[in-house]
């Protein structure tokens, strides 16, 4: 039987597009996010003929496709797969590719290209997508020979999902996808220039262990590297063994349970007082899978000035990039934590530090105003947290609402928090929620979006209409580009240049025109009535929640300031 099947394979005539489809099936791909066009017609034809092999999601803009794929990747832990046509289809993907590169999201993006014979002639819908995406991809390929296609697809998935994950673009000229090819093709690969170091150096691990035992003021900074490595359980054990306080980056939320006693919440520009103070005062900082982004560190001069810095990262280039490092450990986070967890711990020296930190948590909690009737966004986030029991998948856009969601929604599990960190892409939240929901149909998925950002990608309501995906879109509507307005209030003497937007669509009617139930909420009472009902049903929803316009995100480290110079710590 088997021999016969493979004999058939050798002789069956297939197009390049068929080879692509086969390779995708071989990779276990189930969901595709894409948009057709001239240069990918052969690919779409092959997908059509392979009916039943994939769930293909058709967004209404390529940017929607790629953010959905990012959300899918974040929640499923698998690569998100995107298809776009040449020229404008490919360039519409660029923002998402850059976003995935910044946040280490595994994506494999297939772009159509004009036929090989006319590349370089400014042919119709030609764009140099290799040139455009080189600086924003982990790697990119243009397929030159049809027999290379299956190998390249396999390499692309391997590169996207291993080591430090990232986006890989595969550009496929139209003649390659449409040519018929009858010979056997090889799909195995060897990448001598790509051999990520995944196991830690034992000497370095011992060094860190010794430093941990000696430390009087240790603190852990957990980044999304922990989540990518699937190392949350190992992190819990590690933290328990050495009794360490844990703060996370924005993208690291959920890597360690936010409700645990040892959790200090998020650090950075809008991090908690206890987290930033711990980073400032510590004598040993253990960074696990974060890249010391400037929004986290504040002014580098004042970042952990008295600390020994240990940094565990699978990407050696991140170690020492922004912060000189004393104990570098190039490794997968899980392997490094396992090695540390194998050590026997006795005689720790930081009881006083733990007490001081706990006191900071009590003395300087997050705070906000509480008007009688109207809604403040912080309270709104607390309600979302309560009504979903902390179990929802939450995606966000970029702006004030994103920071409030990060501060007030406490994630106890990884892969539930989907946000655009490094690139800070407005328009990300809603399409990302589509992918996130598809990756986990059993969870409530809430897209917390700004009134500004939602309007950048709201055309994807069509996908909810078509698929009846029960994504709950919560517009934190302050009728402003709130984060811009806040900076103008604080640093530009309240000159609100182009940041107050009182002309808006009727979001309820807009939703209804897509057959999505819409709700407008203006008071706390209305919210308490509508939110639990909407979060509990199996329908999509758009909730236009009006919130106080002039609320600011606090606490805050102003640009150029250090961790110890937070403002708005207390009312």
């Amino acid at each position: 039987m088997k021999a016969q099947a493979s004999a058939e394979q050798e002789t069956a005539t297939k197009t390049g597009a068929d080879l692509l489809v086969e390779a995708l099936i071989g990779q276990g791909v189930e969901t595709l996010f894409g948009y057709p066009g001239g240069a990918v017609l052969p690919i779409y034809d092959a997908i059509y003929r392979a009916e039943g092999s994939f769930d293909h999601i058709l967004p209404r803009h390529e940017q929607g496709a790629i953010h959905a794929a990012e959300g899918y990747a974040r929640v499923s832990g698998k690569a998100g797969v995107v298809i776009g046509t040449s020229g404008p289809g490919a360039t519409n993907l660029v923002t998402g590719i850059a976003d995935a590169m910044m946040d280490s999201i595994p994506l494999v993006i297939f772009t159509g290209q004009v036929a090989k014979g006319v590349i370089g002639t400014d042919a119709f819908q030609e764009s140099d997508i290799m040139g455009i995406t080189t600086p924003i991809t982990k790697h990119n390929y243009q397929v030159q020979e049809i027999e290379d296609l299956p190998r390249i697809v396999n390499e692309a998935f391997h590169i996207a999902t291993t080591g430090r994950p990232g986006p890989v673009v595969v550009d496929i000229p139209k003649d390659i996808s449409s040519t018929v090819y009858a010979k056997e093709v090889k799909s195995d690969f060897h990448l001598p220039g790509y051999q990520p170091t995944v196991k830690p150096n034992p000497l370095q691990v011992s060094k860190l262990h010794d430093a941990l035992v000696e430390a009087k003021k240790p603190v852990v900074l957990a980044g999304s590297g922990v989540i990518h490595a699937g190392a949350s359980e190992e992190l819990k054990t590690f933290v328990q063994n050495y009794q360490l306080p844990v703060t996370t980056t924005l993208l690291g939320l959920g890597s360690y349970p936010g409700t645990c006693d040892l959790s200090l919440g998020m650090a950075g520009m809008h991090g908690t007082y206890s987290a930033n103070t711990a980073l400032y005062e510590c004598d040993l900082l253990i960074n696990i899978g974060s890249r010391f982004d400037d929004r986290l560190t504040g002014n580098l001069k004042h970042f952990a000035p008295n600390a020994t810095i240990a940094h565990i990262d699978i990407d050696p280039a991140e170690i020492g990039k922004n912060i000189p490092t004393h104990i570098p450990i190039v490794s997968d986070a899980k392997a490094a934590l396992e090695a540390l967890n194998a050590k026997t711990v006795k005689g720790l020296h930081h009881k006083g530090w733990m007490d001081a930190i706990s006191q900071n948590k009590i003395d300087y909690p997050l705070w906000h105003d509480q008007p009688d009737e109207l809604i403040v966004p912080q309270w709104l986030m607390q309600k979302v947290y309560e009504y979903t029991g902390g179990e929802a998948v939450v995606t966000t856009d970029v702006g004030q609402h994103q920071m409030w969601a990060a501060q007030y929604y406490q994630f106890d599990r990884p892969n539930r928090w989907v946000t655009s960190g490094g690139l800070g892409t407005m328009g990300y939240g809603f399409p990302a929620a589509i992918g996130a929901q598809l990756a986990d149909m059993n969870s409530t998925c809430v897209a917390v979006v700004g009134d500004g950002g939602f309007q950048m990608t709201l055309q994807e309501l069509s996908v909810l209409q078509e698929r009846r995906l029960p994504v709950k879109i919560l517009i934190v509507n302050n009728q402003a580009l709130g984060m811009v307005r806040q900076w103008q209030e604080k640093f530009y003497s309240e000159r609100y240049s182009e940041s107050i937007i009182d002309v808006q669509p009727d979001f309820v009617k807009l939703a209804e025109s897509y057959q999505v139930p819409g709700y407008k909420i203006e008071t706390q009472e209305e919210l308490l009535e509508v939110l639990p009902k909407v979060l509990g049903d199996d329908q999509p929803a758009v909730i236009d929640c009006r919130v106080l316009q002039k609320e600011n995100v606090y606490p805050m480290i102003a640009p150029g300031k250090g961790l110890h110079e937070m403002i708005g710590v207390k009312r």
Partner: protein, 173 residues
């Protein structure tokens, strides 16, 4: 400080673009790049002469290069015993009278004249960059019409003396 960094790369389309783009994006100061095939089929070697502020910047440069999928090996060979060569062609204004004068100048450099016309001669010189610089300085008073340099290419010597410091062998201080 000036460093010589070599990288062996897979000779695929786009690799040069990726490498130079990365250096530009991270604001590294490149003095010269030379690229060519090696003894191994499908593998090319790039030699960079770079100006970096400090060791940390240098470490970033080698790490970022190493991170590229098509980059096989990166070495900073500045402090090793190396052989390094650059080729320059200099078109100097000259009439038949001063041609022999030029001949006299270039001889100690073991340079040669590879083209002659009524108004000019073209000199080819090979060597370390400072030697090339020195010859160009000597030819400048005659009037240089055109100058082309390949950039440095280098590799380590067959025998590496077992000394910690190779400063005296170093091409670039």
């Amino acid at each position: 400080m000036k460093r010589i960094v070599t990288a062996t790369v897979h000779n695929r389309s786009g690799v040069l673009n990726r490498v130079t783009g990365l250096l530009a994006k991270r604001q590294f100061n490149i003095e010269s790049i030379s690229v060519g095939r090696t003894e191994t089929e499908g593998v090319s070697k790039m030699t960079f002469v770079v100006e970096v502020e400090d060791d940390r910047k240098l470490e970033q440069l080698t790490k970022q290069l190493n991170k590229q999928i098509d980059v096989l090996k990166v070495s900073d060979i500045t402090d090793k015993a190396i052989v390094a060569r650059e080729l320059a062609m200099v078109k100097v204004i000259s009439n038949p009278q001063i041609r022999s004068e030029i001949q006299g100048i270039i001889e100690p450099f073991r340079a040669s004249i590879i083209d002659v016309s009524k108004e000019s001669v073209t000199v080819q010189v090979t060597g370390k960059s400072d030697k090339v610089d020195a010859l160009i300085d000597l030819l400048r008073p005659y009037g240089i019409k055109e100058l082309a340099r390949t950039g440095l290419t280098a590799f380590t010597r067959g025998h590496q003396p077992q000394v910690a410091e190779f400063k005296s062998y170093s091409l670039l201080k």
